[in-house]
């Protein structure tokens, strides 16, 4: 190994980058992540460029379009560095004022500041916003400092220095030992200790081995992996580079979900730039280690997120899983020893190597180290991407970071682990989030999807939703999964449409256990989880559907009806205008009426009415906030 070479090469690189950087330089970081882009961040960036030119500041201030900053609910977000002045919901029209006040002057635009709903106070700096305060953003925090198509940005933050240090001074076994001390576990689902996979592959003989990054992110309702890959692709490449060195692989595959075109684009640019700088390819940083990285586009099948199915799909075969006794560490891609890890798992590697296992293992709980990134979505005020130390409670996630439930509704449950996971009810909100605790509750950590549900969400409907997802995605290879899920779904559909019978729940449980036991891969084995957990925590809700033919949450459309309460309706006409079917009639200032034959039960009138005059028949609760 030609030591010194790597670190000097990188230092030179770093110097040339930093030469052009001044830490006191003003940088306007505009979040152009998926949600902000959908609310006009692109125009905001263009406006900053235009306005800075007008103000004669084009050379003094940098404008950076970055990927997700996390606080999606309040996007588009603008952060002015180095002070980290934080503006939310910025539009094109706000830009001239920000340029004049904050960039030309040193003032703050009051009206664009975030207001803490608890105290009513205006908050100037990003780090004081409650949403960010409880987080520990070691993986995702750099997103707002990085223009993802510029490798210089990553290098300026110390990127690739972990690689240089590893290549200069550590043997592959030392890298694996460091990983073991750090206690890193897989972030893709089951939380398998990462070092064990690496060790097994390392110990296999043979010159041809592979590392694979699983960026198939199939969990519907989750976008952590997308954000990392779009926002900081080099952190993943660097993780794979180090992993390849540790296990003895000279080739890697980055398998990206087809539905993420921008992630693919950023990954492709990042790979090319890393190649140009000698960070990928022959003799990485002048050392003896060579590593090539290929990009692969998925074909849009959830089951391909399963490791053996993913391998099959790279090999150009349909993504059907193999039996679990086949270990990738021995018979992986093209039958060679292979390590496959999730995006977040890989992104943790350079951080551990850079800052040391000692530092890393202080974060988290006894069994679960480091941080976890969750996408916090559903019925929650602060939707967004959240990175927290393992061990934080669900209550802190939902209330302190998430800001609680919108529209004065009540919390009902949170769902983690996607179609393989389960729901967790209110009584367990104080449980610390780690791998063991979530499994104990019948759910799982999964890949980081966290969907919050309120009293309007029906648990039978949720179970039905996940089963229909799994039925659609089952590859059909094994009978238990293919047929069992279909029959379970049929029972749930009957229950949700008022055809449930006594004994259905017991039959459902029996079948669920058979499917879990007899399926070939994780898809079928875990598909019953949403059913089993909703049955465990919300059995009475199922019983109301079966015995009373009633949906207490007011969600199952076959069991509800919308009515206008004449006493409360003042004939304002809002519902009439909102109704997409023209099913509501009535004179102005006179109580309106819904034509049940035309009504499609979409709920538009219910959401639109400000006088609580629309009632859902069959439901349990009346909302306090509306009355």
């Amino acid at each position: 190994m030609s030591t010194v070479a790597s670190s000097t090469r990188l230092e030179e690189l770093g110097r040339s980058v930093l030469l052009h950087r001044d830490p006191t330089r003003v940088v306007v970081s505009v979040c152009n992540g998926p949600s902000c882009a959908a609310s006009g961040a692109g125009q905001v960036i263009a406006a900053f460029r235009r306005e800075l030119k007008r103000a004669g500041l084009a050379d003094a201030v940098d404008v950076k379009g970055t990927c997700c900053h996390g606080f999606c609910a309040r996007g588009p977000l603008v952060v002015v560095h180095p002070e980290r002045t934080f503006y939310r919901q910025v539009t094109e029209k706000d830009v001239p004022e920000i340029v004049d006040t904050t960039l030309a002057g040193k003032g703050v635009v009051d009206r664009l500041l975030y207001i803490d709903p608890a105290t009513g106070e205006k908050i100037v700096h990003e780090y004081d916003v409650p949403f960010y305060k409880r987080q520990l953003r070691i993986l995702s925090g750099n997103n707002e400092l990085i223009d993802p198509v510029k490798i210089e940005d990553y290098i300026a933050l110390g990127g690739y220095s972990a690689t240089a240090a590893v290549l200069d001074g550590m043997t592959p076994q030392q890298v694996i030992d460091e990983l073991k001390r750090a206690g890193l576990r897989g972030r893709g689902g089951a939380g398998f200790p990462t070092w064990r996979k690496w060790q097994a592959c390392h110990d296999e003989p043979g010159p041809q081995k592979y590392v694979i990054c699983n960026a198939d992110e199939g969990d519907p309702g989750a976008f952590m992996d997308r954000t990392l890959l779009e926002g900081n692709p080099h952190s993943i490449i660097e993780g794979m580079l180090i992993g390849g060195y540790a296990v003895g692989a000279r080739e890697g595959y980055l398998y990206v979900r087809n539905e993420y075109p921008l992630a693919l684009q950023h990954a492709a640019i990042a790979v090319r730039q890393a190649e140009e700088l000698g960070l990928l390819g022959e003799h990485v940083l002048g050392s003896d280690y060579s590593f090539r990285l290929h990009l692969i586009r998925g074909g849009g099948a959830f089951v391909c997120g399963e490791s053996t199915a993913l391998v099959a799909s790279i090999e150009g075969r349909p993504g059907e899983p193999r039996a679990k006794h086949v270990h990738l560490a021995e018979n992986g891609l093209w039958d060679r020893p292979t390590v496959l890890n999730n995006v977040k798992t890989w992104a943790n590697v350079p951080i551990i190597m850079g800052r040391g296992a000692g530092w890393y293992s202080q974060i988290g709980t006894e069994t679960s180290k480091g941080t976890m990134i969750f996408s916090l979505v559903g019925k929650i005020v602060n939707t967004g991407l959240v990175e927290v130390p393992m061990g934080i409670t669900l209550r802190e996630m939902v209330y302190d970071i998430g800001g609680g439930i919108p529209n004065g509704r009540r919390f009902k449950a949170v769902q983690t682990g996607g179609p393989s996971g389960g729901v967790i009810p209110e009584e367990y909100l104080d449980v610390p989030v780690d791998y063991e605790q979530l499994s104990r509750l019948g759910s799982m950590m999964g890949s980081g999807g966290m969907i919050v549900m309120d009293e309007d969400t029906c648990m039978v409907d949720i179970a039905k939703y996940f089963l229909s997802f799994c039925k659609f995605e089952s590859c059909g290879k094994c009978t238990a999964c293919r047929e069992g899920i279909k029959r379970m779904l049929q029972m749930l559909t009957d229950i949700s449409e008022g055809r449930g019978r006594e004994g259905d729940l017991e039959r459902l449980e029996t079948l669920a256990n058979v499917v879990a036991d007899a399926s070939l891969c994780g898809l079928g084995q875990s598909a019953p989880n949403p059913v089993l957990t909703t049955l465990r925590y919300f059995r009475s809700e199922y019983e109301a559907h079966i015995r009373e033919k009633r949906c207490p949450a007011g969600a199952c459309r076959a069991l509800i009806s919308y009515e206008i309460v004449a006493d409360k309706c003042n004939g304002c006409g809002v519902c009439r205008r909102e109704c997409p079917e023209g099913a509501i009639g009535g004179e102005r200032r006179v109580a309106h009426v819904i034509d049940a034959d035309k009504c499609i039960k979409c709920g538009a009138c219910y959401q639109a009415c400000r006088f609580d005059a629309v009632r859902i028949g069959g439901r349990d609760h009346v909302h306090a906030s509306c009355s």
Partner: protein, 157 residues
């Protein structure tokens, strides 16, 4: 309806960039689909011929993955997200509304060839759910009431 119109040069170009040793047969089919908006039979036959793989093998991929269509698609493709975040915020009724407006079920193309309606399980924009994509362009926080206006944007003269 398609035979004469297929320009196989595009398939050949995609094949030229394909390296069987690196995997990526799925990627090759995606490149071909990007050219034609679907996978024409002629193109798949060409792939089989050039790669030496049986045509059944190519079809096993083309039918397994949801990204592929064996039929020509409409001039605009609408994908309604039915992922969990979108589901709990009412994506189901939105899909039904679009189905009724267009007179086709998900997975089909309108008779005039204007729209193909598809469903997708999460596009990673969950924070602004419910969402749908039209020709890859994202529409955030859609509602049944906004469906009409949305479709009208793609009305052709």
């Amino acid at each position: 309806m398609t035979t004469a119109a297929i320009d196989l040069a595009k398939t050949d170009a995609a094949l030229a960039a394909y390296d069987s040793a690196e995997g990526g047969l799925v990627g090759l089919l995606q490149d071909i689909q990007a050219e034609y908006s679907y996978l024409p039979r002629e193109a798949l036959e060409r792939v089989a011929q050039r790669t030496g793989l049986p045509i059944s093998r190519i079809y096993s991929l083309a039918t397994f993955f949801k990204a592929f269509s064996l039929e020509p698609r409409g001039r605009h493709v609408i994908s309604v997200c039915l992922g969990t975040a979108c589901h709990v915020r009412g994506a189901g009724v939105i899909l039904e509304k679009i189905e009724r407006e267009l007179g086709v079920r998900a997975g089909h193309t309108t008779r005039d060839g204007r729209f193909t309606l598809e469903v997708v399980n999460c596009v990673g924009d969950c924070a602004v759910s419910p969402v749908c994509l039209v020709d890859g362009e994202i529409y955030a926080k859609i509602s049944v009431t906004k469906v009409d206006t949305l479709l009208k944007r793609y009305e052709e003269p």
